[in-house]
Amino acid sequence: MNDDLLIQRLLDGTMTPAEHAEVNQRLRDDSALREHLRDIAEQAVAMGDMARQREKDTSFRSPHSAGKGARYSSWLALAASLTVLAASAWLFLGSRESPVLTLVDASGSIAWSHGGEWRTEVRIGESMSAGTLETVGESATAQLQFRDGTLIYLTGESELSFSEDGQKLLVLRKGSLSAQVKPQPKGKPMLVRTPSAEAEVVGTVFDLSTRSDDTLLKVNEGLVKLKRLSDGSAIDVPAKSSALASLDSSLKLNSSTTPAPLSAWSFDFTSTVPPRDWRGVWHDTAEGGRMVSSPYIASRRPAENMITHFGVSVRTGMLNPPLTLTATDTSIVRYRLKQDQPSPLQVMLLTSVPKKGYYGGNFECVIAADELKPDTNGWCDIEIPVSRFKPLDQRQQIRERHPSPVGNILTAVLLSSFQKDTKLTVARFELSATSAR
């Protein structure tokens, strides 16, 4: 096999053991081949940079466009990265050892890093000193409490650095959080920084999501001051209002009334590009758009092996304008989907408690393969009444505390195949309160 093909198979991860030995030996012996491989790696990284930049600059539909008209130069993104890094460094200068947060509740996998230590097992009730907490996997959640009773609820694949040395300092590098903040000392508001914005909080209830190019804020109670990092402009966002702080400073920074909660809503992937922060890969086809499942970490076994599912998520916190989707006792979850082989599916509802924003429980419904009745083109329409959803957590006290999703806010709805890529493809999601059409 020639050098080029060997290198491509190396990068594609499709080498046989014999080819693996051969390519390593050729690289040991041939400095020109090593130089070629370094060139390829630099090109790949530069291509990734360029494609990311081009995607941000383009105004036509593309598979991962978060929205239209987002335009900003790469230095802004770099500046944002530096800002978050600097903020992270700043918060770590504070008290390192004294407990800052207690883990009140969690589901799925979480990891806490602190002072060079990386722990993947944190017990409920354990106190954590300044560090970084990560909820690993689409269905992971963590509820955290500061010493003054302030509650933070992290959901999905989120990463939060935290510190408190007279003032609460948080850096949300990715994902979403909800916070129920007790009144803070005068002149020392809680600060939450993201790559694109900083929220200054005195005492309130709010939801914050950081997306690729912007930060979404939804204030439920009280007032939050939101500063856009790209130009330093700031606004006060009052209760029942929302705002979006973009890296694109040409967009107007203002707040608007949060739409009323809905119990019926749908998302048509065939005609609408989903937010890029949703799980799945959106493809535009001649027959319309499709959301194809992508792998995520469902859980970790004790020996640290990860269980991977392939899923498509609908994360309400990542939508602009914000969506508050409520489960009622007549709710029905509907999907139009197809798979390339019959396989059972899991539908999960990740929920939070209305107005308070904290953990409302995760719920699961398993759809047996023989329940799926594909048409001649392979498409299935499934309907799942809310009564079929059962608590995911096996702990009795958690099941009693969160017995049903009814009355809760759906922060995410996740459809997955179990540990097997069945090329699960979704054309439409719907939550309704009506019986079969």
Partner: protein
């Protein structure tokens, strides 16, 4: 006197392409490589480390990026075969020996060359390196065989290299 955080970050971002590319050779995922670089940059200003000079910082960053990349690979692609440690060391050493030359003009030339790539070839590169799809998926998407995708990618990489060299050539 130890480097302050701003200087650390400036040095790291100046060497970003090399550090990310070195991580890419391990993880073979451009986005993961970028994440790894970001993690290393974060650690450089958050952990109890200090650096007396740029060389110490970049040596630490190279080792840290490699460790992070191996860790990433162990967790996500444990069964794929990659480069042997001694080969990675060799690549790193040669990379570092060339790092005295500023990355800027070379990267600028590379970006200009990438800009000039025809749309269908650019699509191939994006599917492979931006969307991170395996070549089998790329092949299915563009309606070609996987071997043809390997060949087209190889040809594109060599054309880009030639283009960069031409642009950097003084004549």
């Amino acid at each position: 006197m130890p480097l302050d955080h701003e200087i650390i970050l400036r040095h790291l971002f100046a060497a970003r392409q090399r550090l990310s590319a070195a991580a890419f050779l391990i993880v073979r995922d451009a986005h993961a490589a970028e994440d790894i670089f970001q993690n290393v940059a974060l650690k450089s200003v958050t952990r109890e480390v200090s650096f007396e000079h740029e060389g110490a910082l970049l040596s630490w960053a190279t080792v840290s990026a490699k460790r992070e990349a191996i860790d990433w690979l162990r967790k996500r692609k444990s069964e794929t075969l990659g480069l042997e440690p001694d080969v990675l060391d060799l690549l790193d050493r040669e990379w570092q020996s060339k790092s005295a030359a500023p990355e800027g003009p070379r990267m600028e030339a590379l970006r200009e060359c990438l800009d000039g790539v025809p749309a269908n070839s650019r699509r191939l590169l994006e599917l492979r390196y931006f969307e991170g799809r395996p070549c089998q998926e790329v092949a299915e998407t563009v309606g070609a065989g996987v071997e043809a995708v390997y060949q087209r990618l190889s040809r594109l990489h060599r054309q880009l290299k030639q283009c960069v060299e031409q642009r950097l050539s003084p004549t």
